[in-house]
Symmetry: C2
Subunit: 213 residues, 2 copies
């Protein structure tokens, strides 16, 4: 599959790009700065021969399957101008609205309940899915980290959820768990504040597992 | 330790009562209906000789350590009249504000961000801690269920968090993880919607684990 990553040069985008390329998918690693995207793509690939191409965000939006990995407060401003290219496509949002307060991350609640719902409202012709929120970015990028994590997947389009789960399940170390509608994105995104705060307090790189499923 | 459970006759309260009694603690199992509390306590204990006593909620509020296990929409109305007895004490809130929508549970957000924050505002002299939200009630009550779950603990009083963690760690199958301030209660409570919706979709009794800590 061809996967475009909007805002792919940050930690979340890089980590996902490495795993998805390693799984054999073609990656269009987008950035608002195409030069920077080229440099990050080259650094990520190293000598591994992965099909990762750095490009501008609008070129990444031309991919079959698009992941939005920008900082949360740049998500809507970045995605909205790309609405034409994203029409009819799955757009997977990794965004979490969080602010730092001392040694804690605090969840903030977008007016529509989640960043994914904000994105769905900005891209009414796209099929927004929310997933990949709780993954430790450094462990994603390091393919030898032994990462084993469950990935919660939600969205209002059932086929888009299933396609997203299939892509995630093709990635080593990840297990996709379909949750339900986009209404679940609010709690899923906000829970990232808890995961990161736990990591700060316990000096850990925790991963979320749902036992018994 | 003497543990009082306000609203202890519902599934969450019963499950917690069984585990905490089995760990050797004395339980005052409260209900607005003391007769019902007596009956549930007798049924829970069976022939096991646990020190579980059914009582009215105001008697449960006299315990050293108090857990609030009422339905979420009865929490404030039940706890506020007990403010005098609860003054200076730890009050551990298990409440999650959730509504059912078809095959999903939907998180709803109390005006102060969480039910625990609503409780703290109603009991300004108490030390409110939020924990025990994600546990499957039936598996809690069945001591042979093989339950192994992580319990996220938050609150604004550090000593109250630590005491709560010690109580939880004394219970077989549970590991307490201190998260941070009461601001974390919103995401922790809301995430229960995700856990229950997963269980409905996957016909499972999932438990939350944080690997890597």
């Amino acid at each position: 599959m061809q996967v475009g990553i909007i805002g792919g040069t940050g930690p979340a985008g890089r980590g996902f790009a490495a795993r998805v390329a390693n799984a054999g998918h073609e990656v269009l690693l987008g950035s608002r700065d195409a030069e920077r995207a080229h440099a990050v793509a080259a650094e990520l690939v190293g000598g591994r021969g992965w099909p990762v191409t750095g490009c501008a965000n609008d070129a990444a939006a031309d991919a079959d399957f698009v992941v939005a990995a920008t900082p949360w407060d740049a998500l809507i401003a970045t995605a909205k101008p790309l609405a034409g290219s994203l029409e009819g496509k799955i757009v997977l949002s990794m965004a979490n609205a969080l602010v730092k307060e001392g040694r804690e991350m605090i969840a903030v609640y977008p007016a529509r309940g989640s960043m994914a719902a904000q994105l769905q409202a900005a891209l009414p012709g796209s099929r927004v899915v929310a997933a990949l929120h709780h993954l430790p970015a450094a462990q994603m990028e390091d393919l030898d980290s032994g990462l084993e994590a469950d990935v919660l997947v939600c969205g209002d389009d059932a086929a888009a959820r299933l396609e997203s789960c299939a892509l995630i399940d093709s990635i080593a170390g990840l297990r996709a768990l379909e949750v339900g509608s986009l209404a679940q994105a609010g709690p899923i995104e906000a829970f990232t504040a808890v995961c990161i705060t736990l990591n700060i307090r316990h000096k850990a790189h925790s991963t979320l597992r749902l036992a018994g499923i």
